[in-house]
């Protein structure tokens, strides 16, 4: 059992936690009655996906993706020329020294989009509360049902 934890759980701990958090968010978005609780669950679901993608860019022994003097004179010159200037034949930076920055930039966009959708959803919650006087889903569905029965 301990051996199994050491070889299976610990090296991929980010991915195990990603699954746990994603299922927590899915459960809240489906199973909770309160609309604000559903939105908290939706945000948790979103951060789980961000965790998956950023975990893909992690390397053992790597640092933050910023070029400085510790990566060598050639690397600094290469970046000073705009990265890939005319005459550069080889890529002078060792990619093992820093985490893969591509998933980071992609997830940066996802975070900003996520807070925008959260803001719109909270505004819709306020409109729903003004019309129905409650944020509990069963009560809202009951009121909609009575309106439809009257018509």
């Amino acid at each position: 059992m301990m051996e199994w934890i050491k070889t299976t759980i610990v090296p991929h701990f980010n991915f195990w936690i990603y699954v746990v958090i994603m299922m927590l968010g899915l459960w809240a978005a489906i199973g909770k009655n309160n609309l604000i609780k559903k939105l908290i669950g939706l945000s948790i679901f979103q951060t789980a996906i961000l965790l998956l993608y950023v975990s893909m860019g992690v390397k053992e022994g790597a640092s933050i993706p910023i070029v400085d003097e510790t990566m060598g004179e050639a690397a600094v010159d290469f970046m000073a020329q705009g990265g890939g200037a005319a005459g550069a034949t080889a890529f002078p930076i060792n990619p093992d020294l820093f985490a893969n920055p591509l998933p980071h930039v992609l997830m940066l966009t996802a975070i900003v989009v996520g807070v925008a959708t959260l803001g719109v959803a909270l505004a819709l919650c306020q409109v729903i509360f003004r019309d129905f006087g409650t944020l509990e889903e069963p009560e809202i569905l009951n009121q909609i049902q009575t309106i439809q029965d009257d018509v």
Binding site: V10, F13, N14, I17, V20, I21, L24, G25, W27, A28, K32, N33, N34, I36, K37, L39, I40, G41, S43, I44, T47, L50, L51, V54, S55, G57, V58, K59, E60, A62, S63, I64, P65, I66, F98, A99, P103, H104, V105, M107, L108, I111, V112, G114, V115, L118, G119, L122, C125, Q126, F129, T134, L135, E136
Partner: protein
């Protein structure tokens, strides 16, 4: 990546997520959700994603918590589950 710090922060993250979803007081749930945002910001910084970390610190721990508290003050504070 620093593995012991990573494991501790991820365990705290799961605890914060469960508490935020289980609290019946929505104001408390919004506070714990801000804590969740700050914890995941620490995880990004520890994994080397510094740009994602400071975006998450402003957006996840700051703005989304403030938006949620503003909505709760305009609507109801009690939740049924």
């Amino acid at each position: 990546m620093i593995l012991p710090l990573d494991i501790i922060l991820l365990i705290f993250l799961v605890i914060a997520a469960v508490v935020a979803l289980k609290l019946r007081d929505l104001l408390g749930a919004a506070m714990v959700f801000s804590t969740y945002g700050f914890l995941i910001c620490l995880i990004w910084a520890e994994m080397g994603a510094v740009d994602v970390a400071f975006t998450e610190a402003t957006v996840g721990a700051g703005i989304s918590g403030a938006l949620m508290i503003a909505t709760i003050f305009k609507t109801a504070r009690k939740s049924s589950d």
